[in-house]
Assembly symmetry: C2
Homo-oligomer: 373 residues x 2
C-alpha cells in the first residue's frame, strides 16, 4: 500500500545538508522546507483560512490533539466531517499527539507504561491518553499527518530517565502503528527522542526507522537548552533520518532556528511564536524584531517592514498598529499575526531559492548579519 504521504526530493544544496522537496498529501502538495502555522484550537489565532492562504500563503497548518480532544471534543469534530470541514481549511493539516501537552501538565499527570493519566487544564476533569486512544482521536480529527504518542523529557534530564523515556516512546510508536485506523488517508510520523544524549538519539532513530513509518520528527529539542546544544543534537540527529521521507523538527519558529533546521536537512517546522508575539505587540522583520508597542513608534507613519508584501505592510503604519495594540483592539493582533506568519513563510520561500542555488550558507551569514544574531 502506498502511504498517505510521500516525499519527493528535488534538489540537495551543495553548501549544506539542506534539501528542496515536495511532500505529497491527500489535501495537496507542500513545497519544502516549510513553516507550518499553528491552529491549536481549530483556528490559527485571529485569522481566517482565506487570510492564511492569500496573505500568509500557508501550505499546511498544525492543530493540537490535546486541546481539540478537550474542547470541542474529537467526536464532535468527527460529526462535523473532520477538522478540515469543521474549520474550513482544505489544505493539509498535521495533528500532534498531545504528548508534549500532557507532559507539560507537570503535577496534573502520571505516566505509566499503558499511557498517561492527566487532569484537564480547563476544569480539572480526569482523562487518560494511550497510544491507542490518541490514534482514535487523531483519526476522528482526520488530519493528513498524525504524530505518534510520545514522551518529551524536560531539559535537563538524567541519562537514565531519558533512556527509559526514549525506549517507552519507541514501544508507544509501535503500539500507535498497530492501532492506526486509516493508513491510506493519514500518515503516522514517529518522533525521535533521546534528549541531549547522542547514543540515545541514534538508538531512537534506528528503532523507529525499523517500524517503517512514512515520516519522522525530532522531538525534545528547542525546549529551553542553549543554542549550541540545540544545534549539536539537530546536526547529529537529522542525518540519521531516512532520506526518502519527510523530516519534521517540532516546535521551532525563530528565524535563525528555521534556517539552521533547513541547513541540517529538515523539511518541516512549526511554532506558535509568530502569533504569540503578535498578541504582545511584537513584529519580526527583515531588520530584526520590532516591538511596535514601544513609544518609539507612536508617530512612525511607515510600515512595519518596507520589504514585506503582506496586507498589513501594504496598508498600515506602525503608529496605527501601535495604537490598536495599546487600545487592546483585536485588529492590532490580526495585523501583526498576518505579518509575522507571512514573514516566516516568506523567509522559507527565500530559503527554498537559496537551496536551489546552492547558496544557503551564504544566505544564512547575510541574514544573521542583517537580523542581528
Amino acid at each position: 500500500m502506498k502511504p498517505a504521504v510521500t516525499y519527493e526530493l528535488l534538489h540537495e544544496c551543495k553548501q549544506t545538508g539542506a534539501r528542496r522537496g515536495i511532500i505529497h498529501t491527500p489535501h495537496g502538495d507542500i513545497q519544502t522546507p516549510v513553516f507550518m502555522p499553528v491552529g491549536t484550537q481549530a483556528t490559527v489565532k485571529s485569522l481566517t483560512p482565506e487570510e492564511l492562504k492569500e496573505e500568509v500563503k500557508a501550505e499546511i497548518i498544525l492543530s493540537n490533539t490535546y486541546h481539540l480532544y478537550l474542547r470541542p471534543g474529537n467526536k464532535l469534530v468527527k460529526k462535523a466531517g473532520g477538522l478540515h470541514k469543521f474549520m474550513k481549511w482544505d489544505r493539509p493539516i498535521l495533528t500532534d499527539s498531545g504528548g508534549f501537552q500532557v507532559f507539560s501538565l507537570g503535577d496534573l499527570r502520571t505516566i505509566e507504561e499503558e499511557g498517561v493519566y492527566f487532569k484537564s487544564h480547563l476544569d480539572g476533569s480526569k482523562h487518560f491518553f494511550s497510544p491507542e486512544s490518541v490514534m482514535e482521536i487523531e483519526n476522528d480529527l482526520g488530519a493528513d499527518i498524525i504524530m505518534a504518542f510520545d514522551e518529551c523529557c524536560p531539559y535537563p534530564s538524567t541519562y537514565e530517565y531519558t533512556k527509559k523515556s526514549m525506549e517507552r516512546t519507541t514501544r508507544w510508536a509501535a503500539r500507535c502503528k498497530a492501532a492506526q485506523k486509516d493508513a491510506q488517508n493519514q500518515a503516522l510520523f514517529g518522533i525521535i527522542q533521546g534528549g541531549f544524549y547522542k547514543d540515545l538519539r541514534k538508538q531512537s532513530a534506528k528503532d523507529l526507522i525499523d517500524l517503517e513509518l512514512p515520516g519522522y520528527a525530532i522531538g525534545g529539542i528547542s525546549v529551553g537548552e542553549p543554542k549550541e546544544e540545540f544545534l549539536d543534537i539537530l546536526k547529529y540527529t537529522t542525518p540519521l533520518m531516512p532520506k526518502d521521507k519527510p523530516r519534521y523538527l517540532m516546535g521551532v519558529g525563530t528565524p535563525d532556528y528555521l534556517i539552521e533546521a533547513a541547513i541540517a536537512g529538515i523539511d518541516m517546522c512549526d511554532c506558535v511564536l509568530p502569533t504569540r508575539i503578535a498578541r504582545n505587540g511584537t513584529a519580526m522583520t527583515w531588520n530584526g524584531k520590532v516591538v511596535v508597542r514601544n513609544n518609539t513608534y507612536s508617530e512612525d507613519f511607515t510600515p512595519l517592514d518596507e520589504e514585506c508584501d503582506c496586507y498589513t505592510c501594504k496598508n498600515y503604519t506602525k503608529a496605527y498598529i501601535r495604537h490598536l495594540i495599546k487600545a487592546n483592539e483585536i485588529l492590532g493582533v490580526r495585523l501583526l499575526s498576518i505579518h509575522n506568519l507571512r514573514f516566516l513563510t516568506k523567509l522559507m520561500e527565500r530559503v527554498k531559492i537559496e537551496i536551489e542555488q546552492d547558496n544557503l550558507l551564504n544566505f544564512k551569514n547575510e541574514f544573521y548579519n542583517k537580523y542581528g544574531y
Copy 2:
C-alpha cells in the same frame, strides 16, 4: 457657501413618515436610511475596512471623539493625515462630540457653562472639553460629519434640570458653529435635547434650526426608558426636524428601533450593539436572537442564519462559531461581528426597498411577528 454635506430626498413612504434619500458627503454618497457601524477607537472592533465594505457593506462609520482625544490623541491623528488615512477608511466618517461619553463619567466630571472638566477613564488624568476645544479636536480628526458638543441628561431627569441642560446645549451649539474651523469639508450637526418633555424638545428643535446647521440629530433618547416613551418622543420630535437636511437618531441599533426610526422619518442611526453582543456570543438573525454560545448549538452544523449572505453564514456552522467563542478565539468574535453588522445593513437595505414601495408599515408588522417582538 454650499455645506459639506447635503440631503437629497428621493421618495416619501405613503404608509409612514419614512423617507428614502441620499446624503452627499466629501467622501461619497450614503443611501438612507442607513445604519452606521461604530469604530470607537479608529477601528470597528475586530474588522478591517475591506470587510466593512465588502462583507458588511457599510457606507459610513462613526468614531468617538472622547476616545480618540485620549488615545492616540487628535494631534497624532492629524499628523497621520486625519482619521480616514490613519485607519484606511475612505468612505464617510461621523465623529460624535464626546458629550455623551464625558457625561457618562459620573463623579469623574463637573459641568460648567464654559465646558466640562473630567478625568480620563484610562489613567485619571485631568481634561477639559468645551464647544471650542471639541471643534478643534473634531477638525483634527477630519470626519465628514461632526457633532456639536451637547449635554445628554440621564433618564429620568426633572423638568428643571432638563430645561437648563437643553438651553445650555443650544448655547454650546451656537459656540460650536462660531468655532467651527472648516465648514467647507465638515458638516456640523446640532443635537436636539429636552429629555422626555415635549415642550422642551420643541424649543430645542426651534432654537437649533435657527442656527441653520447642515443636519440635526436627536440625542437623549434610547437611554434606558421604556419603549413607549422612546417612541413617543421619537414620533414627536422627528417631524420638527428640517425636511431638507439629514436626520440622525443617536445610539440606536436594535432591529425594532431601527425600523421605528425609519418609520418616524429618521435617516441615520448608530449603535455599538452588533459588535458588543458579538463579543458575548450572540447573533441577530431573521428568526430572532441566537445565543450561539448556548449548549443547544454545540452540534448544530447549520449556518447562523439561512437567509444571510455574509461571509460567516456562507462558510461556517453554529457549532464551529460556538466552539470559537467558548475557547475565547478571536475568530469567533470576528465572524459574529461580520454577521451582526451585515444583518443590520441588510435590514436597512430591505427598509429602503419597502419605503420605495410604500410598504414599510406592512414590513414592520411582518418583521415583528417573525423576529418575536
